[in-house]
């Protein structure tokens, strides 16, 4: 073993604490980096695999069977933009009794699962072979083993269906598959006097060019244009399905990357600090090494090796931890496609993390190590032994005049005694406070987004009209003692000028301004001729608040003015909300949103209302928000985990600085203790040395956190649903909270300094002064 290796190993043994700090911060940074990059790379993996296996459709279009024939729809497969197609498959929305409950499900007639496009993956059981059989979508859920269950359609002409299989489709808008001959062309409406509900044709296309939304939209328009006007009912773009499939994970990527960058910056600075500290603390050793013949290269490489060894251990610990932590998120994305949940490892990402983190560590350590290699031996020996007056002297004189306890002023004066180290401490605190500011802000903003999307404060019960009249149901709801207020609602698909795809038009009878849709711009509509819409629709239709657009209703064309932009994810953000008078006086509502009086239980109310309405008349439910809730909970928990990681790194940075400072100041502390400084006063000196740095870091960290919060929240809105967010969702920081965040900077600094302060208080005066 050569002398450099022996010396390096000896130094590693001697500097266990600093090696541990490097190991810890590098492990935490690697953990955060791997988690972010794994998610970035793997989040779309399940969809891509499922899409490839299924030869998934780039575009699914549904057509009105009353306006277009199956042959006309089939002919669209030969259009130039289409490379391959399956269909047309007829579809019907049918009320079905299943497991004792009533639901409206989409039934599709399909002979085989392995069609050219959109192959259906059978998870259990088999495909339908005969009349009276059905395969259900795995998304229906709610049953341990649905095979053999009988579905009872509430539609003449469709017999009871026995479930023979459970399947998953990438384009998952179908609930039940049956043989085509099982589906009639139309079924009678449940309400007497209403028109019969006609079947639609669904067509699954693979396109020649489908890598962007614009390309898919262009193909959509070309297909729609080849058919009679008004034939298109709905469209489904695979890019949007892909975005929606892992939307929770996708919205996390910006903040995961931002926080990982924070973690890496903090780690690099801490490593540089450790090496600088080691150089300063070991100046005498370095001088002796040079005096006995170590070359500058040997000195530099020895120092680098001292850093690389714990850093390598940290990376080897942090990366697997990051891979493991990313699994639940990737599994969450995979489960939507019924794919087997496998342990997803991205070796390239892990190798990148390993190489990246170690490179950053080496770069951070390189400068002080090179500097140590270049210092002349005589200079380092002299500077290691001669007394120096450092930068804190002047501050000390000034602070001594303040009417504060002397331990506090003595400690505070040390704040900037080593400017480089002080700067690193400030940055460590800054990163910690910026992370907390960002995470707290994002959590509060997301809570507001969740509240605006779920609207549970405003609407507690949703009522679907089934076999009853609008008037009867309105009267029934009004007569319930628990009803505070309600609004009748109707949904129509309409064509809108400038858009190739249909838009959902939601119209309300009565005052609907209390419904709780968050306004981004403008105001809620006040009467006929006005509407509000989400950002995505405004962008797609090139509209701005105050502008007019034309919508085609079944019987006429109406011009409406957009008076507000709302946060709304319904119908893939392609919708309008307006007053029912736009539809004319005969338009009947098919849904009711009910706000209950305080203290009324929503489930009890819904059950009572359903019962009062009579069988098949209405269906009332307390809206199930668990999907949205679980997504927000997942994001919140990831945010909290990363905030803790960042705080741990920041506290480690402060800890490291204070350890270095107290070691360098061991003589001063021993002298002070010798002349009568108590342990408590010693703790006060050490803690006071970081208070100013903590405050500065806190003050600087807040704007960084606020900027990050604003930018990331904006990004998340775009990724989640191409939407802007109301200004009030950004303004979540009260003056009190900001003041607390400055205090958090001080608290973080004190937390990092607490243990070294205790060590300083317990240090033996005699051993330090004896060593002198």
């Amino acid at each position: 073993m050569n002398a450099t290796i022996r010396k390096t190993l000896a130094d590693l043994r001697r500097r266990k604490l600093q090696s541990t700090i490097i190991l810890l911060v590098v492990a935490l940074a690697s953990f955060a980096g791997t988690l972010a990059l794994s998610l970035l790379v793997e989040v779309n993996g399940p969809f891509d695999r499922a899409f490839q296996q299924a030869n998934g459709a780039h575009l699914v279009m549904s057509f009105d069977s009353r306006r277009v024939s199956a042959q006309q729809v089939a002919a669209t497969a030969t259009l130039g933009t289409v490379s391959e197609a399956s269909g047309p498959f007829s579809e019907l929305g049918v009320g079905i009794t299943m497991n004792g409950g009533d639901r409206v499900l989409t039934l599709q007639g399909r002979n085989r699962a392995d069609t050219a496009v959109d192959r259906i993956s059978i998870e259990s059981g088999r495909w339908v072979r005969a009349a009276g059989e059905a395969v259900i979508s795995s998304n229906l859920g709610g049953h341990d083993d649905p095979i053999g269950t009988v579905l009872t359609p509430d539609a003449p002409g469709i017999p009871p269906l026995t479930v023979v299989g459970v399947a998953t489709a990438v384009a998952d808008h179908v609930d039940v598959w049956v043989l085509p001959q099982q589906l009639p062309n139309e079924i009678a409406a449940p309400v007497a006097g209403k028109p019969a509900e006609a079947a639609s044709y669904s067509m699954y296309y693979r396109l020649r060019r489908a890598s962007t939304d614009a390309q898919v939209t262009s193909a959509t328009n070309a297909i729609a244009a080849s058919l009679p006007q008004g034939a298109t009912i709905s469209t489904q773009n695979y890019l949007q399905i892909k975005r929606n499939a892992a939307i929770t994970e996708a919205v996390m990527i910006p903040f995961l990357l931002a926080l990982s960058a924070f973690a890496l910056i903090a780690s690099a600075l801490i490593v540089a600090n450790v090496v600088t500290g080691a150089v300063i603390a070991g100046l005498r050793d370095l001088g002796i090494m040079k005096a006995v013949g170590f070359t500058p290269v040997q000195v530099t490489s020895g120092l680098l090796a001292q850093v690389l060894a714990p850093a390598l251990a940290g990376v080897l610990f942090g990366i697997p931890l990051g891979v493991v932590a990313s699994q639940p998120l990737i599994e969450d994305a995979a489960s939507g496609f019924g794919l087997p949940v496998t342990f997803a490892v991205a070796p390239a990402v892990d190798a990148l993390c390993l190489a990246g983190v170690l490179t950053i560590v080496v770069l951070a350590a390189l400068f002080p190590a090179l500097r140590a290699g270049r210092i002349p031996a005589a200079e380092v020996i002299a500077s290691a032994t001669s007394p120096r007056t450092d930068g804190s002297a002047r501050l000390n004189r000034w602070l001594a005049r303040l009417p504060l306890g002397r331990p506090l002023t003595l400690g505070a004066a040390q704040s900037f005694s080593r400017p480089w180290r002080s700067m690193i401490t400030v940055i460590a605190v800054l990163i910690g406070v910026a992370s907390v500011t960002f995470v707290l802000g994002l959590q509060q903003s997301l809570n507001r987004v969740a509240a605006a999307l779920t609207r549970t404060s405003q609407v507690q019960v949703l009522v679907q009209r089934q076999g009853s009249s609008d008037q009867a149901i309105s009267q029934l709801i009004r007569s319930q003692s628990g009803t505070a207020r309600f609004v009748a609602e109707r949904e129509n698909d309409v064509a809108m000028s400038g858009l190739g795809q249909p838009v959902a038009l939601y119209t309300y009878r009565g005052d609907s301004s209390w419904l709780g849709y968050a306004l981004i711009h403008g105001r809620w509509f006040r009467g006929p001729g006005e509407a509000v819409a989400p950002t995505a629709l405004m962008t797609a239709a090139h509209l701005q608040v105050g502008q007019r657009t034309t919508i085609a209703l079944p019987d006429r064309t109406v011009t409406i003015r957009i008076v507000g932009v709302i946060l709304d994810q319904t119908n893939d953000n392609m919708l309008l909300r307006a007053d029912s008078s736009n539809l004319g006086p005969t338009a009947e509502a098919n849904q009711y949103e009910v706000q209950l009086k305080p203290g009324i239980d929503a489930d009890t109310y819904a059950r009572a209302l359903t019962h009062a309405g009579g069988p098949d008349a209405i269906y009332a439910e307390s809206p199930n928000k668990s999907g949205a809730d679980s997504a927000f909970i997942l994001i919140d928990s990831v945010l909290a985990t990363l905030a803790i990681v960042l705080l741990a790194i920041a506290a480690s940075g402060v800890f490291n600085t204070v350890v270095l400072n107290t070691r360098e100041r061991a003589r001063d502390i021993a002298i002070l203790k010798a002349i009568g400084m108590t342990p408590r006063q010693t703790v006060a000196v050490v803690l006071a040395s970081v208070v100013i740095l903590g405050a500065v870091g806190g003050i600087l960290g807040i704007p960084v956190g606020l900027t990050l919060h604003h930018a990331i929240l904006e990004d998340m809105g775009q990724i989640a649903s191409r939407t802007e967010l109301p200004a009030s969702f950004y303004a979540v920081f009260s003056p009190l909270l900001l003041a607390l965040l400055v205090l958090a900077g001080i608290g973080l600094a004190l937390l990092g300094a607490f243990i070294p302060a205790q060590w300083a208080a317990r240090s033996r005066v005699t051993s330090v002064l004896h060593a002198e």
Binding site: A393, L672, I675, P679
Partner: protein, 234 residues
């Protein structure tokens, strides 16, 4: 003569029981108002004894008493207050705080004791004047000569008017002339009633300034000229 410091059967061992003790069953008394010198070769236990009296270290066994205070009964905080109020420490290498001016170094024990800064300043200036370094008050230790640094250390040691001044080789890092000046200062203080316990290996210093000499060899008292105060080793 009144006894200020008493050590009864004091043993100090560093490390395990098998190691040789630094002090072995030492019993002695230091009278008040005198300069007592502790002499002995390197490793004889002089500094250990000083540290035990200063409350910087605790004996493995035995009792150390100063001014009626049994040090073993004091916790760390109380020991610190004891050092602050009862003891003044002078070191061979001065042990001044390099980032504080001479005056601020002197003021530190008074400020730690809670003395108002105005009063502390008055007392600090008075001491620096008394020790002949008033013009050096604003200078930092690095800007002072060795003799001046030790005078600052003396001023710091006596600012709280301690009952005992402990001086550990106070002239060890000084040239002969500066060393004599510092010792003359200590002698002046003694004439004013200050009890001084002086650790030195310089016979001339001990002979000239000490009224009693305790000799230590291998952790044991071999000779005590302090008016037969030595207590028989059991």
């Amino acid at each position: 003569m009144e006894t200020l410091v008493q050590l009864s059967d004091v043993t100090k061992r560093y490390g395990s029981r098998s190691t040789e003790p630094a002090l072995h069953q030492v019993s002695l008394r230091i009278p008040a108002g005198r300069v007592t010198a502790i002499m002995g070769p390197s490793g004889s236990g002089k500094s250990t004894l000083l540290n035990l009296v200063a409350g910087l270290d605790r004996p493995t066994s035995g009792v150390v008493t100063l001014d009626g205070i049994e040090l073993s009964r004091l916790g760390e905080a109380a020991l610190a207050r004891y050092r602050r109020v009862k003891i003044g420490l002078i070191f061979q290498f001065f042990n001044l705080l390099n980032n504080l001016t001479a005056l601020d170094n002197v003021l530190i024990p008074a400020e730690l004791a809670g003395m108002p800064r105005r009063h502390a300043l008055e007392r600090g200036h008075e001491l620096l004047d008394q020790l002949g370094i008033a013009d050096q008050a604003r200078k930092y230790p690095a800007q002072l000569s060795g003799g001046e640094r030790q005078r600052v250390a003396v001023a710091r040691a006596i600012i709280n008017r301690p009952v005992l001044l402990l001086a550990d080789e106070p002239t060890g890092a000084l040239d002969t002339h500066s060393g004599e000046q510092v010792m003359d200062l200590l002698a002046d203080l003694n004439r004013g009633g200050q009890t001084i316990l002086l650790v030195t290996h310089d016979h001339r210093v001990a002979q000239k300034y000490a009224s009693a000499v305790i000799r230590l060899v291998d952790g044991q008292v071999t000779d005590d000229s302090s008016s037969a105060i030595r207590v028989a080793v059991q």
